[in-house]
Structure formats: C-alpha cells, structure tokens
Symmetry: C2
DNA sequence: CGCTAATCTAGAACAAGTTTCAGACTTGCT
DNA sequence: AGCAAGTCTGAAACTTGTTCTAGATTAGCG
C-alpha cells in the first residue's frame, strides 16, 4: 500500500509506517502495475485507467491489483509519486538559473508544466486523482505534497524556511495544482497559467528574509 | 458517452447557455432536485449523493434527474452555484470592514470558510465535484468561477481590475479551492488555511495601482 | 523434502453512475 | 376539444469500481 524505495536522502521525516519488504517478484509486479497505469493514463486520461485493464496489462489478477493499491485513486496517486520522483531527479541535474528565488521557482514550475504538457492525459489522470482523493488517501497525498515542496524549496535554494516561507510555498502549490486543473479542463490557456505562476511566485520575494530579497520593507502584519 | 448536445455556445463571455425557459412545474422540480442534493450532501458528503436517492427524495424519476443534470458532477456543481449565490447576497448585506483591500478579501474568504465549516459534508461534495469536473462541465464550472471572482472583486471594491489584478484574483481562487480541499481531507488545520489565505491576499497589495496601495514601489514586473 | 501461512488467480457477485425503452402524462396549438 | 410533440415515469440493462470466494502457487522454515 505504500512506497518502498526510499533511496536515502529524504529530508526530515521518516514517517513511513511499514513498507513490508516486498520480494523481488512483488517489486516487479508493483512496477508492472504502475507502468500499466501510466501507460493507460497517457492514452485516455483518468477514465481510461480501468482497473480490469490495468490488471490485465500488468499481467496480474484484479484481486492482486487491489492488494497492491486499495483503490483507483491510490493507484493514480502512487503513479504521481513515481512521476514526481523522476521529475525531481531530472530537475536536480539541471537546476534553474534565474537571478532570484522567485524567478527560479517560476522557471522550475513552468518546466514541470511543459513536461506535463507532453502527456496531458497522464497529467489529467494524476491531478484529478490527487484532488479527488479523500481522507483514506491522505498519507499518500501528503507524500506527493512533500515531494512538491521539496522541489520548490530546491529551486529557492532554501534549507531552513521560515513559517512565512512555508506558507508561501503552500500557496504556490495550491496555485500550481489548481491552475493545472483549469488548464487541463480547457478553462485557461497556457499563457494564463504562466502569468498566474509568475504572479504567485512574487510571494517569495515578499517573504524573503530582511536584506536578502527585493522586498525588504513591507509594513508587516 | 458524451454530452456534447448542448446548445451551441460555450466559452464565450455570454454565459447562461440558453436556459430553455422552464415551466413552473419544471422550475419546481429543478428546485426540489437541488434541495435534495444539498440535503444528502450535508449528511454524508460526495458519496452520500447517490443519483437514485436524489431522484427519490426529489420525487422524480431517475431519467428525469438526468435530463435536468446530465451527471452527478453537473448536479453538484449546480448545487455549488446555488449555494454561492446565497453566499454572495449574504455577503453583500454585510460587507467586510477592513482597512485595505487585502484585509477585506481575507476577511470575506474566512467568512465564507466559516460558513462552509458549518456544513463540512456539503462543502466536501461541492468542492470535490468542482475540482473533479472534466471538460464536459466547463461552462458550469466557469459560472462558479465567475461568481467567486465577483465575490472577491466586491470585497476589493474594484470595478475595472487590471490584468495583473485579475491574475492575482485567479491565484487567490486557486488557493481558496485547494486550501479548502486540503482542509476537508484533514491534511491542514483551519489555522493553516487562515494563514495561507492571508498570505495569498498580500498579492493584492502588490498589484494595486500605484498610489492606491501599500506597495507603491516594487521593482515592477 | 514436506508443511503451513501467505499470496496469487480466475471468476462471480455487488454497488452506484449512466443509458435505454415503452408507455403515461403535459403542453402548446389550432 | 383534439392532436402532435415533447416530457415524465418505472423498470431493466449496461459499465466500471470494488468485494468476495475457492482453489492453485509460492515463500519461509524445520
């Protein structure tokens, strides 16, 4: 029911209640399932990921699929974890080059956005699942959230963010998810998404430590 | 499998897709349906709104329910329109009293938030439907979005917002929806939502016309 | 090796959203 | 009033997520 492969360098949390140590064949099954999920999602988005089809494409019985992922939402959120991890390592290889934190974050997010653009159906499936998830998926959604936070903090170049900065990062994440959704459902253009990302990234300057950012003197509340 | 048979127009500004002039009994049916929907949602959230139950509670055949609302998502988004309209008129009666625009918007949103807190299940159903909606519901979701925008602009006291300000408002809406979801799924506390709302509202000052706001001299965009 | 518990498989069964259809009822029009 | 077109009803059917069951396989262990 949960990620197993934690290759070291996670930041603070251990959290991970119990990855019950999968055997090799089990790990392979899990991987086949995730692959099938992503593949089907790439074709036709959320609705195209049908549990029976995933099971068949992964060469696994339906019951087994449900043993590994207790619901379609769990499956798709896990798929998103997977993809995000890829993205994170990709981004680490070529970090953004902007002058200040806000620019780097905006650039990072737009890069991620362009990656998703290449597989809009996959993006659709993952993001819809993510925002539709209810309490039973909270731990998994939280993992995705932490991953996203890590990516953004990376782009900012921050180790020890202040509470204010964390709030700004959360707001950026909110905007990112929600803007993605409006784009995916055809209610906003890419240009609009770009503008909104840049707009929200301005918050970063607002919460920069005194002396390090563009906005040093705002009448603080 | 597709509900493309809508009266022509869609994303043009005009809205209101030609409501074909319902008779009185039809209007009454529609109202009964929306009422049943809200009632069931208040009890048990998204999953408790079951189409057969809505139909029965509204005293209407299942087929009729589907004639009025072509899917469960359509129904819940319409329910949200309804509730938002109430909220809007309520808010107009007692407008927020803050000193600057950012404060008034934050206060308005927190007031709305507290209203939703009183019916968390209803909020759950409506917001989940809203963010899960796919393209086929775009016109209706757009209506909700315009309503929300109107509420925020009201709080700001703006008639003719600049493009920058519209972007800020969109970002606020994104944050509002997404923060609501994280709260509903138990991944954020109310305090955190409040902080994030206040954080994002700072963008309003950033985009205020020169001379009218707190932030007159930021190195432009 | 042989045993036991856990896991996996195939397939049926169930639940809720959605579609369909035949027949009854309304509405609008003349 | 009388009729044609559109609407509503009740019930069954279909789809896809989810659960359950009985039997086959596999893993761990003495």
């Amino acid at each position: 029911m949960d990620r197993g492969s934690w290759n070291g360098d996670s930041m603070t949390a251990d959290a991970r209640p119990a990855a019950p140590a999968l055997t090799e064949r089990q790990e392979a099954r899990r991987r086949r399932i995730l692959h099938a999920s992503a593949q089907l999602a790439s074709r036709g988005g959320f609705e195209a990921v049908q549990m029976r089809e995933v099971a068949e494409a992964a060469g696994v019985a339906l019951g087994t699929l449900y043993r590994y992922f207790p619901s379609k939402i769990h499956l798709l959120v896990a798929t998103m974890q997977d993809q995000l991890q890829h993205l994170h390592t990709t981004l680490r290889k070529r970090p953004p080059a902007g002058d200040d934190a806000a620019q780097r974050v905006a650039e990072t997010l737009m890069r991620a956005f362009r990656a998703l653009q290449r597989e809009p159906h996959l993006a659709d499936a993952m993001v819809r699942a993510l925002t539709f998830a209810d309490r039973s998926v909270s731990p998994e959604v939280d993992t995705v959230s932490r991953l996203t936070t890590a990516i953004i903090l990376d782009a900012m170049g921050l180790e020890h963010p202040s509470p204010e900065q964390l709030s700004a990062v959360r707001v950026i994440e909110h905007t990112w998810h929600s803007a993605l959704i409006t784009w995916l459902s055809g209610r906003a253009s890419i240009a609009q998404v770009k503008i909104d990302i840049e707009t929200v990234c301005r918050l970063i300057d607002l919460t920069a430590e005194p002396g390090t950012g563009a906005a040093r003197e705002l009448d603080r509340g």
